[in-house]
Symmetry: C2
Subunit: 161 residues, 2 copies
């Protein structure tokens, strides 16, 4: 059975930040990744759809990269929110992050048909920049390692709209 | 108007290798990325769907990562095929690659609504391992840089099926 993240940071993104194809709750076609705390680690759980394959029986790498990407920004948001004294579920406005860089090492072919679990460790490298080290498991098999540099949403995203 | 890749390597992947969500021609729900030569560079052109957004007006990073991923494996296949004396369209069986690692630097917010163009330079680092440096443009704006380490499809993918 798939673990359920109770209080996800994405549940609290403001509406205008809730359209991400990966993790936006308002994007009907999207993946709806949801990221929360599990102790001092962050967790996102997602079961790929049947079409998300690389080869029959194995998960598509771009889906794993997408999972790591949104897990990274969600984890950074969780970490800064906690640093500010809050937890998801408190009803406080949450920090918004975008991805500056994304790296994925595909360690093993990722079997299809089981939930994927992304686990993250967050490190602040600057008050507006967080690094998230991510491991992705299928069942208990480590299938991918990655890291994300996430930065507080820059004005360039807002100015150009 | 979107540039069209005439002879794409993915058109010649064997049927059992044509199911990739990113670039498999037989995956009905997939992106159908198609990669060909443009001189000594490789090119993939794709216009994101309306739902592939990060924020309204900007393309989802996971889609860009997916584009770079499949562009990387396709480019490696093109390069080894050419080294073997063939071009897509020759009707010769083509080499099959999978991604060992993927890196993406998001340089600028990527505007939605225009075709994305991934351009690649391929370097052989080992007879079975190729490195592909990728730049992604929206119109003529460089929005992302990435690289892919692609390796010849290992037996572990086949043994476990």
């Amino acid at each position: 059975m798939e673990e359920k993240v109770l209080h996800a940071i994405q549940d609290e993104y403001p509406d205008d930040f809730a359209w991400c194809f990966g993790c936006g709750r308002l994007n009907e076609q999207g993946h709806h990744f949801r990221t929360g705390w599990e102790g001092d680690r962050t967790i996102t759980v997602y079961t790929p759809k049947s079409e998300h394959m690389a080869l029959p029986g194995f998960v598509y790498g771009g889906l794993i990269a997408s999972l790591i990407d949104c897990h990274g920004t969600g984890s950074a948001s969780l970490a800064l929110h906690r640093k500010n004294g809050f937890e998801p579920g408190d009803g406080q406005g949450v920090p918004r992050f975008v991805t500056a860089s994304l790296h994925v090492d595909f360690v093993k072919p990722t079997p299809h048909g089981v939930p994927l679990k992304a686990l993250g460790k967050v490190e602040e490298v600057h008050p507006k920049k967080f690094k998230v080290a991510v491991e992705v498991f299928a069942d208990d098999i480590l299938c991918a390692r990655g890291n994300v540099i996430a930065v507080v949403l820059p004005n360039s995203f807002l100015k150009e709209r």
